[in-house]
């Protein structure tokens, strides 16, 4: 049983996005064996030390610990519970039958019975808040509600005043028990299910078209973007040096072994140095694309752990450097400022490219990935393909992202097909997942 308590707690942690490996679970069991359950504060310190490995995980751990162990009867009070169950099991009912509980229900007995009923109903599988009532029903069933209802009907049938009163008492009792079961199930949902629900919502959010997002989703989106950024950071913050074992670096070897009379004790191998990633983002912030740009930049600027060099330019009619604004101000406010100040004129890709050439051409170099985000609708102005070609020649890679589907490319004033030959990739982005994939791919090129 003590083991079960810990296993269930770890299960709850996992559902709340705290990753607990089997090894850690074993460590936790050993640590608890050492510390014991008696001192709750000590138990908290111990489990948090063994199971939670980052500030966010620690926070989740503490929250769950309170939830979980506040309802969990301490396993040491186990022996009396077992006696009780052996007594009542002869009646064929579950331990702690509802009727008994109502008659001589002291608090701990009820709590124990609820706990057991919860286990029987498989409460730790609960995932959604809508399941609370269902699980409460199941718990009532395993508590032996049928016997109580039978008794109740019989009391009614007696048609005496006493019987009536007894029946009403039972109805009251049933009501109370049911609400307690609900309460119990709800708490279980918060322990085991809330994390899962959140994860589920995030999954949905990741697949939702960026243009269809609601204002109320923005907060959650920010959290999601942080998570994605972290994932990318972990993946790409890998070593930057690559050893080319097999190719001797003669010069280095000679220098290193000069002290040994030129006898090569210490061999030096050739190394290729990897480029540091640099991303230059050129974003159309006119009405049609601005929403996607918002999330793209949000993701991009969350990545500064892996990409120290980010420069970003926004344009509609003219192009401006917005890197400073984004880095210093609060992100949402900065974005609003940019959209309001730059995004209001009619889109002109040609002019914006020439602005880029005039003022910021040095931002483009051979380790740069140039990412253009725009629909390529230039109001029939000159697209300045010559400038775009020149830019493409200066940089490592050119990626063009557009919110429009491929069938729309080239329709009306869209110039995408004419820009396309100069891009390494041209892709439609609709969801945050698309953005993640693109950035992932772009960063992999620096491996």
């Amino acid at each position: 049983m003590a083991e079960q308590v810990l296993t269930d707690f770890i299960r709850a942690l996992r559902s709340a996005d705290v990753r607990v490996s089997t090894g850690e679970a074993i460590d936790a069991a050993e640590a608890v064996k050492l510390i014991g359950y008696a001192d709750r504060q000590r138990l908290l310190d111990t489990l948090r030390c063994v199971l939670a490995k980052s500030p966010t995980e620690k926070e989740a751990h503490d929250r769950l610990f309170d939830l979980y162990f506040s309802r969990q009867p301490v396993p040491q009070s186990e022996p009396p519970a077992e006696e009780e169950s052996s007594e009542t099991s002869s009646e064929g009912e579950g331990p702690g039958d509802l009727l008994d509980l109502l008659e001589n229900g002291d608090e701990t007995a009820i709590a124990m019975a609820m706990e057991r009923a919860g286990q029987e109903a498989g409460l730790q599988e609960i995932r959604f808040s809508t399941q609370v009532s269902y699980y409460a029903q199941q718990m009532m069933k395993s508590l032996g509600i049928e016997r109580l209802e039978g008794e109740m009907m019989q009391a009614f049938r007696e048609r005496t005043e006493e019987g009536q009163a007894y029946a009403e008492e039972l109805i009251e009792g049933r009501k109370e028990m049911f609400s307690r079961a609900r309460e119990h199930a709800k708490q279980a949902f918060e322990t085991y299910g809330a994390g899962a629900t959140l994860a589920f919502r995030e999954d949905v959010l990741a697949e939702t078209a960026l243009t269809a997002l609601d204002v109320r989703d923005l907060g959650r989106m920010q959290v999601l973007v942080q998570k994605i950024a972290k994932r990318l950071a972990v993946k790409h913050s890998r070593r930057r040096r690559k050893k080319n074992r097999g190719q001797l670096d003669v010069r280095k070897t000679l220098r290193a072994n000069a002290g040994f009379d030129g006898v090569p004790f210490d061999l030096a191998w050739k190394q290729t140095k990897r480029d540091r990633a640099k991303i230059v983002a050129v974003c159309d912030v006119s009405g049609s694309v601005a929403r996607v740009v918002r999330f793209f930049l949000m993701l991009l600027y969350s990545l500064n752990e892996v990409v120290p060099d980010i420069e970003s330019f926004a344009f509609s009619g003219r192009l401006e450097d917005v890197g400073d604004t984004l880095e210093t101000d609060d992100f949402a406010a900065a974005m609003d400022k940019i959209v309001n100040s730059i995004g209001m004129s009619s889109t002109d890709y040609g002019q914006s490219l020439s602005d880029l050439k005039m003022n910021h051409w040095n931002a483009l170099d051979r380790r740069t990935t140039l990412i253009v985000l725009g629909d390529g609708r230039s109001n029939y102005g000159d697209p300045r393909l010559d400038l775009f070609r020149e830019a493409a020649a200066r940089v490592k890679r050119v990626i063009w992202l557009t919110p429009e589907g491929e069938s729309m490319w080239g329709s009306g004033d869209s110039e995408l097909p004419r820009y396309r030959p100069h891009c390494h990739t041209m892709k439609q982005v609709t969801t945050i997942k698309d953005l993640e994939r693109i950035l992932d791919e772009a960063l992999s090129r620096y491996q």
Partner: protein, 314 residues
């Protein structure tokens, strides 16, 4: 069996008391982590902002247990040659030169090339023996009979390869030197890793360690720490200065003052015979706490309110 140095680690409270006896004010969490680390034989990974006493904990443990402290400072490009062991090439070379003639004598008897070769192979181990082995911190820590404290400082500054390599060493407390064989720690060291979160550590390493997050101390604990280091400071001043530093940490500055800077400041104030904080005194000594010009300027306008808040609090 020889006594190990870990015997005092009998309970969490004993650890807290023991650390206090060497001047380290522990918390419940810190002591619990040490207790678990000892009993589960697991390394502790300590994270937290710079200057909260992560490194100091290791040093204090070594002093408390009276065992040696082996410190490995990590940096980019650190490899096993500098962390674990190295062959003393120079000495090997010197010995070969010196023994050349002796070698000739020994070889003299061998008539054929084969016989000479056989003879030579029987001597080879001479040069790859412990005499020529230069132990680095990891190996030194393993070889201590009474146990030791192994501090792997700022692990986040090392490369990924080294981190992976460390995993192997820390999981079994043994190292393999190809020429000699496996060296296993008789008494596993108490391992403390620290990280300032410059880069995200690998999951595997985190999973294998106990994790302890130390943040800036609360006012009460910081007072106790300063009191332990600067016993002469008066109660009123102590309370004021700690509160001031705590207020400073809440401001938006580049580098928040560390505990050691609080201690330095307390010493400075004591030297200047201050009995209580006033604005002028704070302004003239602020450079002890803040090391960036921009921070000093940023704080400048808040000094008055912070110092006054303290005055009213006392």
């Amino acid at each position: 069996m020889t006594k190990t140095g870990y015997e005092p680690l009998t309970s969490i409270d004993a650890i807290t008391a023991g650390l206090a006896s060497v001047g380290y004010i522990s918390t419940r969490e810190i002591s619990t982590a040490i207790y678990l680390a000892h009993n589960l034989r697991k390394p502790i990974l300590i994270e937290g902002p710079a200057g909260v006493g992560k490194t100091d904990l290791a040093a204090s443990m070594a002093r408390y247990l009276d065992v040696s402290l082996n410190r490995l400072q990590c940096y980019e490009g650190l490899d096993e040659g500098k962390a674990l062991y190295e062959w003393k090439y120079g000495k090997q070379l010197l010995y070969t030169q010196l023994l050349k003639e002796k070698l000739g004598e020994v070889m003299d008897g061998a008539g054929t090339l084969n016989a000479a070769f056989d003879k030579l192979t029987s001597f080879e181990d001479l040069f790859y023996s412990e005499t020529f082995l230069e132990p680095r911190p990891l190996l030194t820590a393993m070889k201590q009979d009474r146990g030791s404290v192994l501090l792997i400082d700022e692990i986040d500054k090392s490369d990924e390869e080294f981190e992976a390599y460390l995993l192997e060493v820390l999981s079994d407390y043994q190292v393999t030197v190809p020429e000699i064989g496996t060296i296993r720690a008789q008494v596993p060291p108490l391992v403390i890793l620290t990280s300032n979160n410059i880069r995200e550590l690998g999951d595997a390493l985190k999973r294998r360690c106990l994790h302890l997050h130390i943040d800036f101390p609360e006012a009460e604990r910081e007072q106790a720490i300063v009191r332990a280091r600067v016993p002469d400071v008066s109660d009123a001043l102590l309370k004021q200065l700690v509160e001031f530093v705590q207020g400073l940490r809440d401001l938006d500055i580049r580098k928040r003052p560390s505990i050691s800077e609080t201690v330095d400041w307390a010493r400075t104030l004591l030297l200047m015979h201050a009995t209580k904080l006033d604005e002028e005194m704070v302004r003239s000594t602020l450079n002890v706490l803040l090391k960036h010009e921009s921070d000093i300027q940023a704080v400048d306008k808040d000094v008055r309110t912070l110092a006054r808040a303290d005055a009213s609090a006392t």
